[in-house]
């Protein structure tokens, strides 16, 4: 597993370079290794469906109970297959879709980075590792959604997705930490050995709510659903990938993953099922009035995610089975339809369903794929979607609580979905051919291969459900329910209530489709209500945050150097004084018996130079006086046996002096800006700081910290091949610290450069 992840991340890094060499063939070339990886996942199917759980672990930070541990059970394997399989098709598709785009190579890098993060997320066993991958998906999806970064809307959508899912990620992290405290380990497998520990723990409710917050934000559940349609600003391959098999399904994955540990309680049922049902209805209702192909699909994705959440909330064996099947169904048809929408957009130049018709004559293959995928979405036999919908109704009817309500909600949402499916998969391709602005033709194979394969899979899996039930669905259900379950799917259940509901759904959906014009008018009338929606809460929150940041920056960063110096000095003085008080009385008299004359002379020199600096009437005089202070301090170092320190001090002092002089030349005429009152206040502050430091030094003379580290250094310096202890500490004992300091220094140098050179204002043409 680790090898797979490393391979994908290496490919991601190499993406832009590969693109420079391979140009148009990059998509195909990158898809190859991903197909091989998919094949490897597929080869794990027999073992996993036989009940085996494939584990792999490598120590990372053992001291923190942090291992790169991976666990492939039925539920992860289902996701692994979907992510890698659809990912390969998306890579090919993106190669066609973005052909000739300026940043095509970069795009492949982002896409692979995202793919690797998703794979790591679903395979991780250590919860912390899982969280890291979870954050990586948020981060890489930010790059993908904001790919057209010159477009303001794109950037806003990317930021919105990042903030919403990132906020949920923080909640998830808190939840995971609580799980670690309650369960004593971050290993999912270890937690699974005593599954009732968390459910019975006092922290159960906070854990559950935090984890759910993570899952709900990621999977766009009400009231966080708004980021998903916004993310449609991304290029279509991204939408197709993020919204079919990956990003938004991560929350669903999380729900399934934690079901054996947290699921099955009353709170779980109420919250998860309730939120799922609400999302399902909201998504379906909001989808209907849309006219943009991608937005139609986006809202229907919200609805689909609601269905999955609802099913996992119900949590019966039947419901989980329905969830696993619908997960496959949804990934297949949603991926296909998104890619179709992109292909249509690519060829016809618009995604408005009202402007598109009769395309099946010019792009028959795309039309075929779209039709099949839409039929699966509608739930038409013999496609896999039909089985999925039957199971959904069956699970709702058999739900242990509120069954009639959930069934009614599911039927209602599905009726609307049928109408949406007709709008997306049928409407643009049939009817009278409109006069195109340019000659239309079938897009390149890269653009129709993906949808065709996915649609074909939906057909094949529907006709031969044994291809998916035992190998994939059984293992997934077993993993979620934590009990061995065997699933058999059948296309035909005979005439019963469920079939009746299916028929009603399709017929009613067609009626809704007929009425779509009137519904759109109605929707336009109630649109202003959106002002009270959660998206506006997000906008307000964001605006308030930047306003506060603005105020606070203005207040703290006022631009007066003396203010900064005063603040730093004041805070340091108060902190040091606080420490002094805590450590008890300070001996005030140390005796001056062994003080020598030259030491007194240096002291007098320092003091008088400081006084001169404070009262200087010109900058140069002040700088020179400060230099005298510095050199005198170096003298003190030299006298007390620290030659390295003395040399360093002298050099730094020299360079500072040079820099001062270079700067002073450019400053305006010296003038006393401070009022006498201010200067008195400055004197008080400076005196206070000096007093506290003096006391600190006096105290330090009498504090015995017990063990002396200097002893160790002195004894071991020779072992480190050096007699100069200071230098041995710098370059050997504490070399890592020094390396860090070097890095900080270098960054600071860049900062100085930026401050001095990159000024705002009109730029010169020649630069």
């Amino acid at each position: 597993m680790l090898t797979v992840l490393i391979t994908i991340f290496v490919l991601a890094a190499a993406g832009p370079l590969l693109h420079r060499v391979l140009r148009g063939a990059t998509g195909w070339a990158l898809a190859l290794p991903v197909i091989v990886i998919t094949g490897w996942f597929a080869s794990l199917v027999p073992a996993v469906s036989g009940g085996e759980v494939i584990m792999e672990s490598r120590p990372w930070v053992p001291a923190l109970d942090l291992d790169l541990a991976f666990r492939v059970d039925g539920w992860s394997l289902l996701f692994l297959l979907l992510i890698a399989g659809i990912g390969a098709l998306i890579l090919i598709y993106a190669g066609g879709y973005l052909h000739g785009h300026r940043h095509e190579g970069r795009f492949f890098g982002f896409l692979l980075l995202f793919m690797g993060s998703m794979l790591g997320l679903v395979a991780a066993d250590n919860l912390i590792v899982m969280f890291i991958f979870w954050e990586l998906t948020s981060f890489s999806s930010y790059l993908l959604i904001g790919f057209n970064h010159e477009d303001k809307k794109s950037r806003a959508a990317a930021l919105q997705a990042l903030l919403v899912t990132g906020g949920g990620g923080l909640a998830l992290l808190a939840g995971i930490i609580l799980i670690g405290q309650a369960g004593g380990t971050f290993s999912f497998s270890a937690l699974l050995e005593s599954p009732d520990v968390l459910r019975g723990h006092a922290l159960y409710l906070p854990i559950l709510l935090l984890v759910l917050a993570g899952a709900f934000t990621k999977s766009a559940q009400v009231p966080f659903h708004f980021w998903l349609p916004g993310a449609m600003a991304a290029p279509t391959p991204v939408s197709a990938y993020l919204h079919s098999a990956t990003m938004v399904k991560a929350g669903i994955f999380l729900l399934g993953r934690f079901y054996p540990l947290l699921g099955g309680t009353g709170v779980w049922h109420t919250v998860v099922t309730g939120v799922g049902a609400a999302t399902m209805l909201t998504g379906a209702l909001l989808a209907l009035p849309q006219t943009d192909l991608k937005r139609l699909l986006a809202y229907s994705t919200v609805s689909g995610l609601g269905i999955l959440t609802m099913l996992l909330g119900i949590g019966t064996a039947l419901a989980v089975k329905a969830a696993a099947v619908f997960l496959i169904v949804h990934s297949l048809y949603k991926g296909a339809l998104f890619m179709v929408a992109g292909a249509v957009d690519h060829e016809a130049g618009t995604r408005d369903v009202r402007a598109l018709s009769g395309l099946c004559k010019v792009m028959p293959i795309t039309a075929m794929a779209a039709g099949a995928a839409a039929l699966s979405m509608i739930g038409f036999p013999p496609l896999l979607g039909f089985i999925g919908k039957e199971l959904l109704y069956e699970a709702n009817l058999a739900a242990p609580f509120a069954a009639p309500y959930y069934t009614a909600a599911a039927v209602g949402a599905n009726i609307l979905m049928v109408a949406v499916a007709i709008m997306v998969g049928y409407r643009p391709f049939h009817g009278p051919a409109q006069l195109p602005a340019k000659p239309l033709h079938e897009p390149s194979p890269a653009l129709w291969l993906g949808p065709l394969v996915l649609a074909a899979l939906a057909v094949v899996a529907g006709l031969f459900p044994s291809l998916v039930d035992r190998p994939l669905v059984s293992a997934a259900v077993s993993a979620i329910r934590a009990t061995e379950t065997t699933v058999e799917l059948k296309l035909w259940h005979g005439p019963n209530l469920v079939l009746l509901l299916s028929v009603i759904t399709v017929l009613a959906g067609m009626v809704v489709y007929r009425l779509r014009g009137r519904l759109r008018t109605l929707a336009a009338q109630i649109a202003p209500l959106a002002r009270f929606g959660p998206e506006c809460a997000y906008e307000l929150g964001l605006r308030a945050l930047t306003a506060v940041a603005d105020r606070q920056t203005r207040w703290l960063q006022h631009g007066y150097l003396r203010g900064y110096v005063l603040t730093v000095l004041g805070v340091a003085t108060v902190l040091a004084a606080f420490a002094l008080v805590r450590f008890g009385p300070v001996p005030l008299w140390i005796g001056f018996e062994d003080v020598r004359a030259h030491e007194i002379a240096i002291g007098v020199l320092i003091l008088s130079a400081a006084l001169v600096a404070a009262n200087a009437r010109s900058r140069i005089a002040a700088v020179v006086a400060l230099g005298v202070v510095g050199y005198s301090v170096a003298l003190v170092y030299g006298l007390y046996g620290a030659p390295d320190l003395a040399v360093t001090q002298i050099l730094v002092e020299t360079l500072t002096l040079v820099l001062f002089v270079l700067v002073v030349v450019h400053l305006p005429q010296f003038s006393a800006l401070s009022t006498p009152r201010r200067r008195r206040w400055d004197a008080v502050m400076a005196g206070g700081a000096g007093l506290v430091i003096t006391l600190l030094v006096l105290k330090a003379l009498h504090v015995d910290s017990g063990e002396r580290v200097s002893q160790y250094y002195a004894e071991n310096a020779l072992r480190a091949q050096g007699r100069n202890v200071v230098n041995v500490i710098l370059v050997d004992f504490r070399a890592l610290d020094t390396l860090g300091e070097l890095a900080v220094l270098s960054v600071a140098a860049i900062g100085v450069f930026a401050l001095l050179r990159l000024r705002p204002g009109p730029r010169k043409e020649d630069r």
């Binding site: 390295d644 730094v652 360079l655 100069n724 041995v728 370059v731 890592l736």
Partner: protein
């Protein structure tokens, strides 16, 4: 600044400063000195040249930009930690090899800490020179 005395002095002193900075660097492990001090001395030398002959002349003398000097130094310092890793020891473990006698700095021992110190030298010199150049050119 245009001063014949300064120029003549700088011409004589600057090479001495640079040579002295290298001496400080290589003897630093046993006697007072080291990469930090050496780097500062080198920077002082370049700065002196810059003040006497103008910053463009000093830039020409240096040949590479100070930023690059810093970058190379940082790279060398980080690189010196890798041999330890390769030998299965913690990052930055000090490893020592043979030594050669030098005329004035005694035995010069080669090892990863020396490489690290060279990195420190370059980073410090690069940053200090960079600061001086930037400030002096700022009009």
């Amino acid at each position: 600044m245009d001063s014949l005395i300064l120029r003549t002095a700088a011409r004589l002193i600057m090479p001495l400063q640079l040579a002295f900075s290298v001496l400080l660097l290589i003897r630093g492990h046993n006697e007072p000195g080291g990469g930090f001090i050496g780097g500062l001395v080198a920077a002082c030398g370049i700065a002196l040249h810059g003040i006497a002959f103008g910053i463009p002349a000093a830039r020409r003398l240096l040949r590479v930009t100070p930023q690059r000097l810093t970058g190379i130094g940082l790279f060398l310092a980080a690189l010196s930690g890798v041999p330890g890793l390769v030998l299965g020891q913690p990052f930055m473990t000090g490893l020592w090899g043979g030594s050669v006698p030098t005329l004035i700095a005694g035995q010069l021992k080669f090892g990863t800490p020396l490489l690290f110190d060279v990195g420190v030298y370059l980073v410090v010199a690069g940053i200090a020179v960079h600061l001086v150049f930037t400030m002096a050119e700022d009009q």
